[in-house]
């Protein structure tokens, strides 16, 4: 029986005798069938779920309330159930979210005037009522028959994405193709989730590229999940299956408030806030040229298992992710010294800046772990605009009015010291480990400049350089110097970091920072 295929069985009983309820039941069943059992089977044969099956996985059981299931294309001709999109609201872990899922079984999920109207109305409702929007995208793109209506339909959605940005969380889950202008909607949202070998995003497809630039590339290599997760830096999260992708969405939403006026949800993680891991004290090697794993430090400091990294495969020299400290949701930014020494570069600057602004939108305190020798030198970086991109990080941290705490674990040289949530950018509390080196530049580089003659004149220049560098390190880059000068709030043992951060977050909870009145700033992009 058809009904068994859909989760949203009618809640109220449908007596078979009343003809009015019979008609309702019939129409409702027809609407829920989408493109029909054959097309549903085709979708399954491709290893993909239908729109309603996806909503079933995304939302809490029996919480989905559909809106506008009978909306029909105005163009006439064959009926187009729901115009290829299922819209409505439901609960994610007990909190309302507005959702839409494009139905590939109906006209290939192509977007027409009515589909756009349904989505826009949904977004308007979400915006007015301060609830997140989750879009499950699986569409062939614009409905060519509807021509400019379709284009206009996309534009209406993009405008709403932009106006809702920073007001309510917006998540896009790519579950199929997303070509051409359709890719702009997810690009405007806060989180993009893709599925391996199944989602594709690009502005122009392989055929047009081949014709125009003669480059040969397949769908996967052009805009598949791996490309966007690891190369273009567009997919914040990626998963092996649809079920995993939707589980990721549920998990990510758990760190975010429903709208910008609310605080993120507090979730007791059952992890002792006073936990002090002695392994942390041995983590940073004494040899400054030996790297360590910042990920290992984060695992030991944050609530166990709470780190959800965004863009984990892109710009891996920087780490950005949601996490919890003592149950409180925070945004974590860090360098990973095990990846190209944790340098700052164009991509990591972009990654950090966008994440910092996302956290500031939704009241997530920022906890920043600093270990960077500075910006990556080189013509490629300079010609690539590292000045513009690095400036984004400065802008983002300066603008952020959420509580900001920084922990300098080792190197914080020059520009990297300043941009990474320093006190001068408004960090509320700045801590450093005893291994911290805070200076304009590294000790070797500094003595090479300051004591050039002394080193050249010495009988063993290499040994002299090393001795002078050690002296410089003790005198100028030691964290106690920075603390004495008033730029650090405390030097802490690595194993103390967790309890100190949790206490700090509790103290900074009520932070309110007035901002000058202006339309908006001119952030370098």
């Amino acid at each position: 029986m058809m009904e068994a295929a859909f989760h949203t069985a009618p809640k109220e009983p449908m007596p078979k005798t009343d003809p009015r309820l019979q008609e309702l039941h019939a129409r409702r069943t027809a609407a829920r069938t989408g493109g029909g059992p054959e097309r549903i089977q085709k979708q399954h044969d491709k290893g993909k779920l239908t729109a309603r099956e996806r909503l079933d996985l995304l939302l809490d059981p029996d919480s989905f309330n559909e809106t506008e299931p009978y909306a029909a294309a105005r163009a006439g001709g064959e009926p187009v159930p729901g115009d290829g999109v299922v819209t409505g609201f439901g609960q994610v872990d007990g909190r309302t979210a507005f959702v839409y899922a494009q139905d590939f079984t109906v006209q290939g999920g192509t977007l027409g005037e009515v589909q756009s109207a349904k989505i826009c109305r949904l977004m308007d409702l979400a915006l007015q009522n301060g609830k997140p929007v989750v879009g499950l995208l699986d569409s062939g793109g614009a409905r060519i028959q509807e021509g400019i209506q379709s284009l206009n339909g996309y534009g209406e959605i993009f405008r709403r994405n932009a106006l809702a940005s920073g007001v309510i969380p917006q998540v896009s889950v790519m579950l199929g193709p997303c070509a051409g202008g359709a890719a702009y909607s997810p690009a405007l949202t806060d989180l993009i989730v893709m599925v391996a070998k199944q989602s594709f995003m690009f502005l122009t497809g392989p055929e047009v590229i081949k014709a125009v630039t003669h480059e040969a590339v397949d769908l996967e290599g052009l805009g598949g999940a791996e490309v966007h997760a690891a190369v273009s830096g567009t997919a914040h999260l990626s998963a092996a299956t649809e079920a995993d992708a939707l589980a990721l969405v549920r998990r990510a939403l758990g760190y975010l408030p429903s709208n910008h006026r609310k605080q993120p949800p507090f979730v007791e993680a059952g992890d002792d806030p006073q936990r002090m891991d002695p392994a942390l004290d041995r983590l940073v090697p004494l040899d400054p040229s030996e790297p360590y794993s910042m990920h290992a430090a984060l695992q030991a400091i944050l609530d166990r298992g709470s780190l959800l990294e965004l863009l984990p495969s892109w710009a891996k020299n920087a780490v950005t992710g949601f996490a919890r400290l003592g149950g409180r949701a925070v945004g974590v930014v860090a360098q990973e010294p095990a990846t190209i020494a944790g340098v700052m570069d164009i991509d990591s600057a972009d990654k950090i800046a966008r994440f910092v602004r996302l956290c500031d939108c939704f009241n997530l305190p920022l906890v920043t772990f600093v270990d960077s020798p500075g910006f990556l030198p080189g013509v490629a970086q300079e010609h690539g605009g590292v000045i513009r991109h690095g400036a984004k990080v400065l802008y983002a941290y300066s603008e952020a009015s959420v509580p900001k705490i920084s922990v300098i674990t080792r190197k914080a040289y020059g520009g990297a010291y300043i941009v990474m949530s320093s006190r001068s950018l408004g960090a509320d509390l700045a801590f450093a480990w005893p291994s911290a080196e805070i200076a304009v530049m590294g000790a070797e580089g500094a003595v090479n400049i300051l004591q050039r003659e002394a080193i050249a004149a010495a009988p063993d220049p290499a040994a002299a350089r090393k001795a002078l560098a050690d002296e410089y390190r003790k005198k100028y880059s030691s964290p106690y110097g920075a603390a004495a000068a008033g730029f650090l709030d405390d030097v802490i043992a690595p194993s103390e970091t967790r309890p100190r951060l949790i206490a700090a977050l509790a103290a900074l909870e009520g932070k309110r920072l007035p901002r000058p009145d202006r339309k908006h700033g001119n952030m370098p992009v």
Partner: protein, 130 residues
């Protein structure tokens, strides 16, 4: 077609019951395990981008090759170190993200290399590189 590639099995996997209330449970499968085609999930490879790292390793930044651990024909396991580059005054260990066979080593210890320099090539699956 193996079980894993059968699209019908993917539908079954896709229909798997959603993670029941991940928030209440606290612990959840690591996001690394959920990443797309992420053959190098939790293995820190020291590379900025792992795209196509099953075919070749390029120098992520300019530096000096300090040590080369592999030679042509050697099989490497995921996570196994391939070489160490000294850059930004630090030892950067580049590791394999996958189980592969080395087909070419293009640098030696002591060599100064620019960013993007081809360091190591791997045998493509199913056929030797010509």
């Amino acid at each position: 077609m193996t079980d894993k590639d059968n699209p019908k099995n993917r539908v079954v996997a896709n229909r798997r019951r959603r993670q029941s209330n991940p928030i209440a449970k606290g612990e959840i499968a690591s996001p690394h395990a959920l990443r797309a085609g992420a053959r190098n999930d939790t293995i820190p490879t020291g590379l900025p981008s792992d795209y196509k790292s099953d075919e070749r390793i390029l120098a992520p930044i300019p530096g000096v090759v300090m040590q080369v651990f592999v030679e042509v024909g050697q099989r490497v396991a995921p996570g196994e170190p391939l070489l160490v580059i000294e850059a930004m005054k630090m030892k950067n260990t580049l590791r394999s993200g996958h189980a592969l066979t080395v087909a070419g080593v293009h640098v030696r210890a002591g060599e100064t290399i620019p960013a993007g320099k081809l360091l190591v090539e791997f045998e493509r699956k199913g056929r030797l590189r010509g």
